[in-house]
């Protein structure tokens, strides 16, 4: 079979590549249906990654958040028509200590291998997780982001001390929303506060115990542990504010990706005995956990549905460009492509 792969060849320019794949290989064939645009995709699309990085990685198909339907499984494990989410991380080895998403040998869609902007995606059987019927396809499209959040919260759970009365989330974007929501579900007796720059974005966090503009935080407000979900230029400011506001021996989970070297006030990190640790991406176990949460906590898919900002019907390359441009001008929520190309 000849497969169409819609690759970014230069900033703001997609072209089609034609690859050969066999129905007899061991891979499962999935038709992508809903694809969600992430900030990481936008950094490639707009050309804001370093020139050397773009030269090395392009041409490459974007998108690492997607759901689709199984159309062929040579082993017959997956029934045709099963709704699945695609796991973008592809480990090439296993390790007893290091999680699959931190192994340097792993490949990641839309980073070190083609993403999901394809007519069909061929994947290993264990890179698929079934979508519960209670979850809409537009929410299922960004299950990956939910799995990234559960992964970070699980890491927090084993690293942070037990005093967890006040948890702070810095960042009023998509990741901040999901992390804060899942924290509140997992720690219902904790106070979950969200800190952001934009009032209308903070207004969406109806489940939080408090939301604060970062320049209007009450003088005596402190947190026991914090999650940095800003990324970009905001990381440095957020980390500095967290170090000011966190109680001694707290943990700071770093989730925001920044292209810039970020300064950290290590004097205060030392004085307060803080633990900073990074969380990035996710693996199969995190996807299973994310899907379990979506399935068992009825209000979570409902909250996540409010995060679906724009759904773009994509039939052509021009529609792909339009979707990415729309996403750039959208101030809130995820942009999802209904993949009808």
């Amino acid at each position: 079979m000849i497969n169409q792969v819609y690759r970014l060849v230069a900033p703001r320019r997609f072209e089609i590549a034609y690859t050969e794949c066999s129905l007899q290989s061991s891979g499962v064939i999935v038709r992508p249906q809903y694809l969600s645009i992430c900030a990481a995709d936008q950094r490639y699309y707009t050309g804001s990654r370093a020139k050397e990085v773009l030269q090395q990685k392009l041409p490459m198909a974007l998108i690492h958040e997607a759901m689709g339907i199984v159309v062929h499984d040579p082993q017959g494990h997956w029934a045709h028509g099963t709704r699945v989410v695609l796991i973008p991380n592809h480990p090439t080895e296993s390790d007893d200590v290091v999680a699959e998403n931190y192994l340097r040998s792993s490949k990641f869609c839309s980073s070190s291998r083609d993403g999901f902007m394809q007519d069909y995606v061929v994947v290993a059987r264990d890179r698929l997780v079934e979508v519960p019927s209670c979850v809409s396809p537009t929410v299922a499209a960004f299950t990956e982001l939910v799995s990234v959040s559960t992964h970070a919260i699980d890491r927090f759970a084993v690293r942070a001390h037990e005093r967890r009365d006040v948890l702070g989330v810095w960042g009023d974007g998509n990741l901040g929303f999901i992390v804060a929501l899942l924290l509140k579900k997992q720690y219902p007796r904790s106070q979950v506060y969200v800190f952001g720059k934009t009032e209308h974005k903070l207004a969406h966090f109806s489940f939080a115990d408090g939301t604060y503009l970062i320049d209007a935080i009450p003088r005596d407000l402190t947190v026991h542990h914090a999650f940095e979900c800003t990324g970009g230029m905001g990381s440095q400011v957020a980390i500095a504010q967290i170090i000011d506001r966190i109680e001694p021996e707290g943990t700071i989970s770093l989730l925001g990706v920044s292209e810039l070297p970020v300064e950290v006030n290590t004097r205060m990190v030392l004085e307060k005995g803080l633990t900073l640790f990074g969380s990035s991406r996710s693996g199969r176990a995190d996807f299973l956990r994310a899907v379990e949460i979506l399935q068992t906590q009825a209000d979570v898919p409902q909250y996540l549905q409010t995060l679906v900002g724009t759904v773009c019907d994509v039939h052509s390359i021009q529609d792909m460009v339009n979707a990415f441009e729309t996403d750039l001008t959208t101030s809130w929520g995820k942009t999802v492509m209904a993949w009808n190309v």
């Binding site: 000849i2 590549a17 690859t19 050969e20 066999s22 159309v71 045709h80 069909y120």
Partner: protein, 237 residues
Amino acid sequence: MIYALILAAGKGTRMGNVDLPKQFMQLGSRPIVIHTVEKFMLHDALDRIIVVAPQDWLQYTTDILNRYIGHDPRLMVTAGGPDRNESIMNALRYVDKQFGIQADDIVITHDSVRPFVTRRIIEENIQYALETGAVDTVIPAIDTIVKSTSGQYIDEIPYRTEMYQGQTPQSFNARKLMHLYGELSAEERSTLTDACKIFTLRQQPVRLVRGEVFNIKITTPYDLKVAEALLEGGTHH
């Protein structure tokens, strides 16, 4: 029922001095017709996929389907006819004999030598064939079309914006297609260059589906070179 007819009955006279019909030539690691059949096999809506092969190449076709695809109960092979429309009719008679064509059955006909077809094109053919009864896959004409009956002087230059180039699939209500074809005179049949004209000759509506520029028909050595170049261009990652 929804049937796909993969039209592979041509003898490849335009491919130059080669013995192998064009649909059986290799593109990448497999014969062109195999690429095409595989793309159709990924549609669960299709109840049967019937490869229409030259009479002398029936066993060969069966052999390569077995070799590259293996046994699949949806996959069948039957003999074509002297021309395109007779091949379609032969295949429909075969289908009728095997399964009995019902009033709402549709047939998706596709050139075996168009392996670059996409899922969308096939899905839209199924959708609109069910809705309208006849579908043609087209792309807007890129070059200006010039009409000349003498071959030496221009009769007419139609508006390019109203011109399209026909591709496949072409899809139809199966019973209606057989009925309309049966009504045509021998003279009308001789004017047919494709199956959609069977409908337009009887003023029946044919819905357009947007094709793709890359949905090329591999009929000449040049086309095969283009197809190979496209595939090679897609092997970086």
